[in-house]
């Protein structure tokens, strides 16, 4: 089973990529092992997100939209968020600019 590589761009993924880069540069790791670690990360991140129960709603103005290769990209402005956590607490945030990148979540039932 393959998993999306999308989450490599998250903070957790970027910091892992940085760490791997550094170790490959110092000849502590081979690039092929580093790739295996990233593939493992795709899987673990996806499985971990299955356990997240928090719900978020957001509203905003859509500046740019793009649908290419089954990936939606939205550039939003003046976005308000509200996230309700597991304990029922609600966190809100307002942002000037926001980019959303979303892969197709329907084709793969469990990915």
């Amino acid at each position: 089973m393959t998993y999306y590589e999308l989450y490599r761009r998250s903070t957790l993924g970027m910091t892992l990529t940085d760490a791997l880069d550094e170790m490959v540069t110092n000849f502590e790791l081979t690039p092929s092992v580093a790739m295996k670690v990233l593939v493992q990360f795709d899987k673990c991140m996806s499985e971990a997100l299955n356990r997240v129960k928090a719900k978020t709603t957001f509203k905003g103005n859509l500046g740019t939209y793009r649908f290419c290769d089954n990936v939606w990209t939205f550039i939003l402005s003046d976005v308000t968020f509200s996230t309700s956590g597991a304990g029922g607490e609600i966190a809100t945030a307002t942002l000037d600019k926001l980019k959303i990148v979303a892969c197709d979540g329907r084709t793969t039932s469990d990915v």
């Binding site: 903070t11 957790l12 760490a19 791997l20 971990a48 939209y65 966190a91 979540g105």
Partner: protein, 158 residues
């Protein structure tokens, strides 16, 4: 579950998951450990998952241990910004550079405070200029803080 503890789980799962790959490549256990600690250190430096309400004192203390590093990163970021804006100023000397300058403004936003949502969509619909979308399994970086969601719905006007 808060972001920091979920991240910790992912890190442990990844490290455990590649242990077999490492040993079949004849890599020492210490290499795996140094990867784990390097990753953890970089994550702490990013400050994205440091709990706002100090639920995990350990992480908070570690983050305080290295204020210099965090500070340096910010300095780098702003100097990068300055370089870019001076480049934009150079570009402006040519008359046609009006559009160029607005382009580089967008670049700056991307560099220093990129608010990014990575997710998977269930449905995206549009009626006239009203868009609705439902997302799942999302990781958001909002003002430098990471937030996760299981499901999300959004409404926007174009």
């Amino acid at each position: 579950m808060d972001v920091a503890s979920l991240y910790l789980q992912v890190m442990n799962n990844v490290i455990d998951g590649v242990r077999g790959d490492f040993s079949s490549e004849q890599l020492d256990e210490s290499v795996l450990e140094s990867l784990a600690s390097l990753w953890e250190r970089k994550l702490l430096q990013s400050g994205s998952s440091a709990p706002e309400r100090e639920t995990n004192n350990d992480i908070a203390e570690k983050a305080v241990d290295e204020p210099g590093l965090v500070h340096n990163e910010k300095v780098n970021c702003s100097s990068e910004e300055q370089q870019i804006s001076s480049a934009a100023v150079k570009g402006l000397k040519e008359d046609s550079a009006e559009s160029l300058s607005s382009d580089s403004d967008e670049g700056l936003v991307d560099l220093c405070s990129s608010n990014l949502v990575l997710a998977q969509y269930d449905k995206v619909t549009r009626a006239k200029n009203k868009w609705k979308c439902t997302l799942k399994k999302g990781v958001m970086t909002l003002d430098g803080k990471d937030v996760l969601f299981g499901k999300a719905s959004g409404e926007f006007l174009w």
